[in-house]
Symmetry: D2
Amino acid sequence: MSIRALVWNENRHEQTNKLVASLYPQGIHGAIASAIGEDADIITETATLDEPEHGLTEERLAATDVLVWWGHTAHGEVSDEVVARVQRRVWEGMGLIVLHSGHFSKIFKALMGTPCALSWREAGEVERIWVINRNHPIAAGLPPYFEVREEEMYGEPFSVPEPMETVFISWFEGGEVFRSGLTYQRGAGRIFYFRPGHEAYPTFHDETVRLVIRNAVRWAYNSAPAWKAITAAPNVPADKAPVPLTVKGARLHEDGEEGFR
Amino acid sequence: MSIRALVWNENRHEQTNKLVASLYPQGIHGAIASAIGEDADIITETATLDEPEHGLTEERLAATDVLVWWGHTAHGEVSDEVVARVQRRVWEGMGLIVLHSGHFSKIFKALMGTPCALSWREAGEVERIWVINRNHPIAAGLPPYFEVREEEMYGEPFSVPEPMETVFISWFEGGEVFRSGLTYQRGAGRIFYFRPGHEAYPTFHDETVRLVIRNAVRWAYNSAPAWKAITAAPNVPADKAPVPLTVKGARLHEDGEEGFR
Amino acid sequence: MSIRALVWNENRHEQTNKLVASLYPQGIHGAIASAIGEDADIITETATLDEPEHGLTEERLAATDVLVWWGHTAHGEVSDEVVARVQRRVWEGMGLIVLHSGHFSKIFKALMGTPCALSWREAGEVERIWVINRNHPIAAGLPPYFEVREEEMYGEPFSVPEPMETVFISWFEGGEVFRSGLTYQRGAGRIFYFRPGHEAYPTFHDETVRLVIRNAVRWAYNSAPAWKAITAAPNVPADKAPVPLTVKGARLHEDGEEGFR
Amino acid sequence: MSIRALVWNENRHEQTNKLVASLYPQGIHGAIASAIGEDADIITETATLDEPEHGLTEERLAATDVLVWWGHTAHGEVSDEVVARVQRRVWEGMGLIVLHSGHFSKIFKALMGTPCALSWREAGEVERIWVINRNHPIAAGLPPYFEVREEEMYGEPFSVPEPMETVFISWFEGGEVFRSGLTYQRGAGRIFYFRPGHEAYPTFHDETVRLVIRNAVRWAYNSAPAWKAITAAPNVPADKAPVPLTVKGARLHEDGEEGFR
């Protein structure tokens, strides 16, 4: 049984910035998709901001097991309708991997409920990523730590909720630390935030970074059927209760009525 | 030093439904405020939906330590702007107590990032609330369990994130269970969801329910100064880093520039 | 690749009590092993208290991916040495499923660090088990709730740490609730506590209970190599640091020395 | 109402090592006690390993709200009986602050259920402690980060359970990171692990470190009455159930009988 991964990228820097274009001739999405596609049992496609509905139609999301998200300069251009659609699919069970500057994407902020802010510096410094939870599936095959030789710095406090698990913490040459691998669940969907991936560096060509993303797609995959009814608030009439009841008190609602929202 | 609590109520059933009006002649907000006000060191005010800006101006929120929220039939009438304002104050450190049908309020859903759905039944059945975390400040002075003789049923699954702490779990006469007291933190703000409080019953006159709400206000109070900068993403120039650096790699941004959002 | 499961049972009631012997002619371990063994890719063996080293030698544990534990009347007879050995294997990555009265086993208490106490009643009452986390792997294939028609009651407060995930909550006919499916991680090992399984009832012949145990074995399985060094506290000499250092301050220890324990 | 703090120290290096003796002429416990005692409403006493029962009698623990623990070279000399006694008091609600090398104390390992191991280096390097949870009571009055100019390094992975909250993360000059401020709850007791405090450096004279310890004592204080019954497993007879029952099934136990342990 294959996992169906979809890599989403705003794909803007690649059009306007020579450096990014030269680092990622197939686009950042292309580089990430090739990383995931190294596993033959993951089917990988891509989608970008400028496609109709940003390439994220109902049909396509319904056929996606894990969505990988990279965005930076155009978070504001992602339509609220598509964000709500993606959020609903996560609730139903679709996995979501949010990379680097995706921390400020609408979808990540909507799922976290917090600002998702941090401090930052673009100085090409060393990032040393320590594995905190060594036998976690996302850390499969990793050494005790790995380094990205040139990266943007992200510093704490990272205003996200306490995670389910802290998988990685980064040390930066300039003196900061950052929780660079965090897991969450929202509804039935598993979410992994992974810090590296600034567009001015060849991070997505790094073999270890690519392995982490591949591991994360496997981890976020949920084989259960989509939980379509997760937003429903069903009324359970008194005579249909697990222990059938006679109504005793006062009432505002009729049997089977929809509740207020 | 006093705690400044603000009780918000949509205050609609009280105007249109004789039963609710007779149960809560001072409004549901009035009953809740009187519960909290039993502690002399908590200053309690109220605000309602039909006031300008729903009674939740910037000034008023800035002067509020803990906000208590009751809504049911008019969640959709709360303006998105006010919701964003309240959310920001929670991030800065304001406590938030969400009661009963407030599970579907815009502010609770925005902070949780999930549907916050559940099943329900209005049959005046017994709710028995078990204290799971007995020495938690919110459970101060409580017996091992307490009962509300007539309440609406809320049943699991309650589609919220895993809580920081499960304080209460309810048993219902009709056979369901519900996590009826849950704590969260979002940004610097502490959040408590408390299940009881259907408008068709005199729940907010129950002494134990009133004690829980009072305890919750104390627990959610954070004496730290408001974290005003929690949404900021400051650039830290290389020469101002804790360990000053020389820029090594390529760059997209200039020093001190604002990042993308 | 097969999962190697080992079902451990104290196997005492089966020898001394006619009722238990008639319900579980192959022993409780036999019934549980047959439940797990319904999946062809799980290799299932059993071990019991009265075997040498309780059937839990170093070699056998090293060859076990997931250990399932049932005990009740003889917790005190399990040797501390074997408990420490099992605990270490859990830290290294072996999964552990603790069933019912195993809540008071030495191994569960050692891993939780808490009393693991609860209230109880043996009245053959209905237990209705609600699925809280519907798409969790342990809940695969389950309905919204399932019932065990006759079970012992366990009531809250269950003095365990806040879990990683609450998968199930039980409703009891006599009025109590219980968190009946809880996940934890200790070291690299995943732990699942599952409540049903009193020896006086045919619970381990119930198809839904058997499915849960099978699911739990899959969930607790960790394919990563055993984390053998998890108890080591290695010294990292200054000249071998990721960023090599010159020693600056005073010292108590020599390079490469073992620390104190 | 005063908080009663008790500072425990093994007090061995001070007797045998000139450096430690000169840094801490009143003992490490003396330095810590003076830090806590800066708040007039905290009553601070000390206890050491070589006192009868290590200075931790039943009576003394019963009169202690928060215990602070420093040990290093003599963890193995602390009697198992006293460890069990302290653990029980934590379960009842006593707060516990574990400092630095106390990570390997018997009491911390017993409460965590994990190895509590880490890597280390004694090179007098800079530790920069970042505040992750800025408005947490333990961080009251702190800047975004603070530095200890010379400290022992502790490196991840720190084999402890996922914490309730990550309050601090440390950056080390030699390239490691460490979760240096973690909160837990075990039974009714709150636990805080704080990393700094190697005996070869004057860390406990640092004003910021002293403030953190003082804050932590306040945070760990629980005003609820001791939960004396937390280890009890009471039988609830069928006719005393919240919903009285007639016994239906088979039974192993008589009414009111003690369960097995």
